[in-house]
Amino acid sequence: MPDIVLDSISRTYGGSVKAVHDLTLTVPDGSFTTLLGPSGCGKTTTLRMIAGLDMPTSGTIYIGDQLAFSLERGRSLPPAKRNLGLVFQSYALWPHLTVAKNITFGLEVQRVDKIETARRLEEVATALQIDNLLSRYTSELSGGQQQRVAIARVLVMRPATLLLDEPLSNLDATLRMDMRVELKRLHKETGATIIYVTHDQLEALTMSTHIALMQSGELQQFAPPLEIYARPANKLAAEFLGNPRINLLDGVIASGCVVCEGLQLTLSPEIAVTEGEKITVGLRAEELRLHPTSSPSWAEAHVTTALPTGSDWYYHIKMNSKTLIVRQNDTPNLQPGDVVYVEAIPNTLKLFDSNGCALIVSSA
């Protein structure tokens, strides 16, 4: 089953609300692709357009070799013909049917014979460990169980692509952890392409093979998780991924170096910048190191808060007027008020011009 291709699709509501704008994206076959972005950025809308429940105002969608949607060519493939399954954020289980009936509904609609239906029901029920719930009504299930039923209902149709809309957002923290693992296992076992929607960056980083980062209806970056983490395409992408939040410092280019608030970073010669240009540097918490003594390219700061987590320490430090967050795993315990010297040792240089675009563009 080849890729799903969105070719500059837009969706406008009521003539003015641009829910999705000019989105072009190729979801690789077999990938676990996450649509990531803050609430209201158009993730659900995009997912619904792929599913065929909503129609783009313009643009083209291919699902594999099939043209799924094109206004110009007058084509809109019905959702059921797209060979994909959608798990709704609300699960949308039918309250008047038992779990078993919920799961087999689609098979009945497709007139799959009884024996095959029973076989597939048992198969998904076992896979999702809900075989003891089959005769219950959905109102008698816990949130986690409902979710499994919702997934089973979709899997039983054996879709080539699985669309999941914030599936973990209604679950409590521990259950969420378990489900993450389980979804990854599911991905591996079924071999289906998964398009996963979430606003949780950690979920996206840990589960996906690819992340499509969205903001205000537009695609910001499409790349594997670590690629986005290391080489964000713009300030938005840099800020959205990573916890704690990336430190952004304003600086200028001075003789091959970036200078911000006393902190100096050396630039490799292939980066195209002009002397005196104003830029922003992104430094993640683990890319800063604190020293008790000074050095010319380090900046002086003082600790305002110390937050030990057991394995390492987080410090909020104040450098001139700017507050930075630093992660240390080998420094002796510092106290608030201590004066420290900050060294920048970036794994990857994250420089942004005055428009917020990255100066080093991700290669993927």
């Binding site: 009521g14 599913a51 429940l53 129609m55 206004l71 110009e72 060519r73 007058g74 084509r75 809109s76 019905p78 959702p79 059921a80 013909k81 399954g85 959608l86 709704f88 609300s90 949308a92 289980l93 039918w94 309250p95 008047h96 509904f105 689609g106 609609v109 497709q110 209902r153 979709v154 149709m157």
Partner: protein, 598 residues
């Protein structure tokens, strides 16, 4: 161009197709007849040409307007019925408020015993046909001068009732108030239930007397409900037909609805349709006031629903006496009238209340020109005319309930799924429009509209189809309201989940949408069923002598003074309606009270 066409073709979803179809159908059945009726007030009809010198049938004329509003006869034709109407509507609303409000306060805010019984009993007067009480009033209080023979009251006491007491505005107002007070009971009861008891308690802690608390705190907070009740009963009062027909007819005291009826069957449709227009205008005015007054009131009345309801007023040693009086009165309003009607059906010679006079004749007797009234009519249960009328009523009730129920779901579906578009709004408002038209005016409209063939219908005059159309349009507002709220509770995702599996629209409707809200839809069927069973005003103009309904034939028998038959028919209807209500409550947990709110 091609994209526009494609957009159209691709976007042809079931809800879009449905809403366009309904929009056209409703426009045809609701808007068009309004224009038609307005037109009729400017046209010379067959019998009218004798009153309008030098005119021929079909001419345009202003004379109906002149005769109604500015001629020496306009007081009889228009102003007197108008004043009577307003007087009755006003009086009955005040009374219904007082009765319903007091009852609501006692049940919600005091420690009165038997709350459940009282609450259930208080709804019954509304479930009975509104004119049951009118007929009962006649059975109880008629006098020999006008009614032919004496009523039960006179027979028992020997006191002859004065005309103003037995007939006319006074009993009309009273009996209607007794029919409509459940509105007040439910609306005000609902509002009282939502008041935070702490508000009351704090007033009492500050030293306010109980009366002062009631006046200064409670009443202002339930004021919106009071206004709602008033306007609701007022608008019902404007359109009501049966009661003024039964109680006003004998003394020739007309209201707009009965004057409309009299003019229409008396060959003066122009003037009749003007009365109908006047009723619609009044209805719209009331609704407008409702929006004006309630709309602004609601915004600043803050009612907290979470307050503890600990603060029940203790009635002390008055608890049981008050409860007994209440139960007694409610029973009196239910049992006495029904009992009076029943007794009348067993008295061979009307007006003579004794065991010797007891008879089964009016229920099961052979046709006879010498026994009892000497009408030549067989007893009710073996009377082919009456039984066929009852059969027609049942048939109509079932057909209308099914069609209205289905339409309610489909229109509701279209409105909810198209939410945010102008089509949805237009449908919503169009389907509400019949609510504003008093049903007799609506009947008049359909009479005017379908007396002649109108594409795609042949002339429907006197047909069952016409009755069905009128009923369906008339009850549509309730059905759509129920449909909308039912569908709104089913999130679109429940349907979309079915779309994803490839279920057709039809499969989605009958396997998902409808089963989920079974009991709601069932009440949606019950309300039109009951309404048809007791419907008089809507259909009185549309039935023909050959195909009567239980209610319309009752009116005809009353005109002839054959009260035992009339009363027996009413009792049968009451039994049917109350049984259906109770059964459906038992079986499906439906609650007719939910559908009343208006």
């Amino acid at each position: 161009m091609r994209t526009i066409y494609n957009r159209f073709r691709i976007g042809l979803t079931p809800q879009r197709v449905l809403s366009v179809v309904f929009l056209i159908a409703l426009g045809y059945l609701v808007i068009f007849p309004l224009f038609l009726m307005a037109k009729e007030t400017f046209i010379v009809h067959p019998l009218e040409r004798f009153q309008i010198p030098g005119s021929t049938i079909g001419d345009l004329t202003l004379s109906h307007w002149i005769r109604s509003f500015v001629s020496e006869n306009s007081f009889t034709f228009f102003y007197r019925p108008l004043l009577n109407t307003l007087q009755i509507a006003f009086g009955l609303s005040i009374l219904a408020l007082l009765i319903g409000g007091t009852l609501a306060w006692l049940v919600v805010r005091t420690d009165i015993p038997m709350k459940n019984v009282i609450t259930n009993a208080a709804i019954i007067p509304y479930i009975m046909p509104s004119w049951t009480l009118a007929l009962a009033w006649i059975a109880l209080f008629k006098n020999e001068r006008i009614g032919g023979d004496q009523g039960i009251f006179t027979a028992l006491t020997g006191i002859s009732t004065p005309d103003w007491f037995a007939y006319g505005l006074f009993p009309i107002t009273i009996t209607l108030a007794l029919h409509y007070f459940p509105f007040g009971f439910m609306l005000i009861g609902g509002a009282l239930r939502n008041i935070d008891a702490q508000l009351e308690e704090s007033a009492e802690l500050l030293g306010a007397s109980r009366v002062a608390t009631l006046r200064r705190i409670v009443i202002p907070l339930v004021l919106p409900a009071i206004f709602s009740t008033f306007l609701l009963t007022f608008s019902r009062g404007l359109g009501t037909f049966g009661t003024p027909a039964f109680l006003g007819g004998p003394v020739r005291e007309f209201v707009l609805s009965t004057s409309l009826y009299a003019n229409l069957i008396g060959g003066r449709p122009g003037i009749g349709y003007l009365a109908a227009l006047a009723m619609i205008v009044l209805g719209v005015l009331v609704l407008y006031m409702d929006h004006k007054i309630i709309g602004t009131r609601r915004s600043y009345v803050t009612i907290s629903g979470k307050g503890a309801r600990a603060g029940l007023v203790a009635l002390g040693r008055w608890r049981w006496p008050i409860a007994s009086i209440l139960m007694g009165s409610i029973l009196a309003v239910i049992v006495v009238p029904l009992g009076a009607l029943a007794i009348d059906t067993f008295m061979l010679r009307p007006g003579l209340y004794s065991w010797e006079n007891f008879t089964w004749h009016y229920w099961v007797g052979e046709a006879s020109l010498s026994v009892g009234l000497g009408t030549g009519e067989p007893g009710i249960l073996r009377n082919p005319e009456l039984m066929s009328a009852l059969g027609n009523t049942m048939k109509l009730a079932v057909v209308v309930a099914l069609i209205t129920g289905i339409l309610g779901v489909l229109v509701g579906y279209a409105i909810v799924r198209m939410r945010g578009s102008w089509v949805s709004q237009a449908l919503d408002q169009l389907s509400f429009l019949p609510y504003l038209m008093p049903s007799i005016a609506l009947g008049a409209i359909f009479l005017a509209m379908f007396a002649v063939p109108r594409w795609p219908f042949p002339s429907l005059h006197g047909t069952f189809t016409l009755l069905v159309i009128a009923c369906v349009v008339s009850y549509l507002p309730y059905a759509v309201k129920a449909g909308v709220s039912a569908i709104r509770q089913i999130g679109p995702e429940l349907e979309e989940a079915a779309i994803m599996t490839g279920a057709s629209w039809w499969t989605r409707m009958y396997r998902v949408i409808i089963p989920i809200q079974k009991s709601t839809y069932f009440s949606g069927l019950l309300l039109p069923f009951i309404s048809v069973t007791r419907e008089l005003s809507l259909l009185i103009l549309l039935v023909t002598p050959t195909a009567q309904l239980a209610t319309t034939i009752t009116l005809r028998y009353t005109d002839r003074g054959w009260y035992p038959y009339t009363n027996g028919m009413v009792l049968l209807l009451v039994v049917i309606v109350v049984t259906c209500t109770i059964m459906s409550r038992r079986l499906m947990g439906t609650n007719i009270a939910k559908g009343l709110g208006g």
